[in-house]
């Protein structure tokens, strides 16, 4: 459905994208992560046909992104990062009627407005909406044409937690119905909630491409096993790695299953055993700070 092949983008001396390649199959939900200036928006803009790559190519629905026609755009939706692209003089409802009219079978405005919690604002002019309400309207405009593929550039930035949850719920529901989306975000919680697959960019380079759990596993971060121990000594294989704090011991483990087995087989009297896995945020920070490209990542699909 979406394919990027060796995408490069230069703005003068700035190398915004460096040979980014990936494929997205129908129904996939990909989240693009990366620090500011890592090339997330540039990638989406090239895929959407708004930017020409310096080299490399991109295809959407089998058509080169620079040649996308109204026929393909019937099945695409966009939430842009910077400018809303809405008419300030129109009301919320009119906005959806106007944009919905460009598509063959639009979603009725009322249905969308209720789904996004904007029903009470339907007669309010866009210029009088709050930032969060405007963001939700942008999402409604992106979805009004029943798209098969949606590009979402930081769609929940500036939203309150309730609105964010509502949008996550809506997107998850649409994804269950087969909608494909590619989303950029700085929220690791959002990435975990919505993404089947993470594309991690840094300095224009794709550091990782694969499921979130694989990214955590490949980050090289240890799991943290902690417990209280009474009597007996720890087995030598664990004792050298365990840090004691009174009765409580903490063990950083790259192979938690093996270490837990060793603990069980030691016959120690353990209490309050806890195993904490590294989070996606910790994995993200480790990979971004380390800047190591994960070569053996397994792309989904």
């Amino acid at each position: 459905m979406v394919e990027a092949a060796s995408l490069e983008k230069r703005y003068g001396s700035v190398h915004a994208l460096r040979g980014v390649s990936f494929r997205l199959e129908p129904g996939e939900r990909a989240v693009v992560l990366g620090p500011n200036g890592s090339g997330k928006t540039t990638t989406l803009e090239i895929l959407g046909g708004f930017l020409q790559p310096s080299s490399g190519r991109a295809w959407v629905f089998g058509v080169e992104s620079t040649r996308l026609s109204p026929r393909e755009r019937r099945y695409m939706g966009f939430v842009f990062q910077d400018k809303p692209g809405l008419y300030p003089e129109l009301s919320v409802r009119e906005t959806l009627e106007l944009f919905g009219g460009y598509y063959p079978s639009p979603i009725p405005p009322v249905q969308l407005l209720e789904g996004l919690g904007l029903a009470e604002r339907q007669n309010r002019r866009v210029r009088h909406l709050s930032g969060g309400e405007r963001r939700r309207l942008e999402l409604a405009v992106a979805l009004v044409g029943r798209p098969r593929l949606v590009f979402l550039d930081e769609p929940t930035t500036g939203l309150d937690p309730e609105a964010r949850q509502r949008i996550w719920g809506l997107l998850a529901g649409l994804a269950q119905n087969g909608m494909t989306f590619i989303l950029t975000t700085h929220s690791l919680e959002e990435a975990e909630r919505l993404g089947q697959r993470v594309l991690l960019l840094k300095d224009g380079e794709l550091l990782f491409d694969g499921p979130p759990q694989t990214m955590i596993a490949r980050s090289g971060l240890p799991h943290r096993i902690s417990f209280r121990k009474f009597g007996e000594h720890l087995p030598p294989s664990l004792a050298s790695r365990a840090v004691a704090d009174g009765e409580r011991f903490t063990l950083n483990s790259l192979r938690p299953e093996e270490d837990l087995l060793a603990l069980r087989e030691s016959g120690l009297d353990l209490a309050d055993l806890q195993v904490r896995s590294p989070t996606l945020e910790e994995a993200y920070l480790a990979l971004v700070r380390g800047g190591v490209r994960v070569q053996d990542a397994t792309p989904a699909g």
Binding site: M76, F80, D82, P84, L86, E89, L90, V141
Partner: protein, 239 residues
Amino acid sequence: MFRTLPLLARETLWQARIYLRDRAAVFFTFAFPILVLFFWSWQGTNVLTAAAFVAALALAMAGYAGLAMGIAAAREEGLLKRIRSTPLPMFAHITARALAAGVLGALAVGLTLGVGVTALGLPLAVGKAMGLLPGLLAGFIALGGWGLVVGSLAKTAAAASYLANLTLFPLFLLSAAAQRGMLPDWAAAITPWLPLQSLSILIQQTLAGEGWSLLPLLTLLVWGGLGLVLAAWRLSRPL
């Protein structure tokens, strides 16, 4: 093509509706020319001359300044990018903007002349009014074409506003001075070749029942042709 025509008609209606909700645009398109008409009449200018010039100004406000600022503002607000993301072809959107500006400009001309007839005793028969249409069309092509050029050049609405004022204001002053015979020779020599003056001469001749002169009509068509070619070149690139 047949699918695009209904889209174009619908988009034109929406663009007219959006234009009419912009208070500043409505003031400068409909109210400002009438204020100028009253001001000139109080100054003792012949009502026919004043009405013809102000009608041309009304068309310029919608077709030139309105179109230029509308397109630049749409770019600045990300609307053109939004349109590109939809199945509506960009040429249909831009054409709809131009058509809406043309229709509203024609309404502003009608309103100006109507006020001239009812409040200032401008002699105008229905038959003469219909005779205005070809001149207005040529005038709109000239002014609208250059409105598209300015709109495609200016990156922001403010820049478009400066550019439109920087070009329209001197045209306005030159044409106004020409109506009163107050221009030095060099300026009097170039004024007939300017679009605002040509349009006001055509309107004046029609209102006076004198028929059209070829020179102002050709002048407008040449300005229009140049503007449309430049606009087509500019607008064929991503906005």
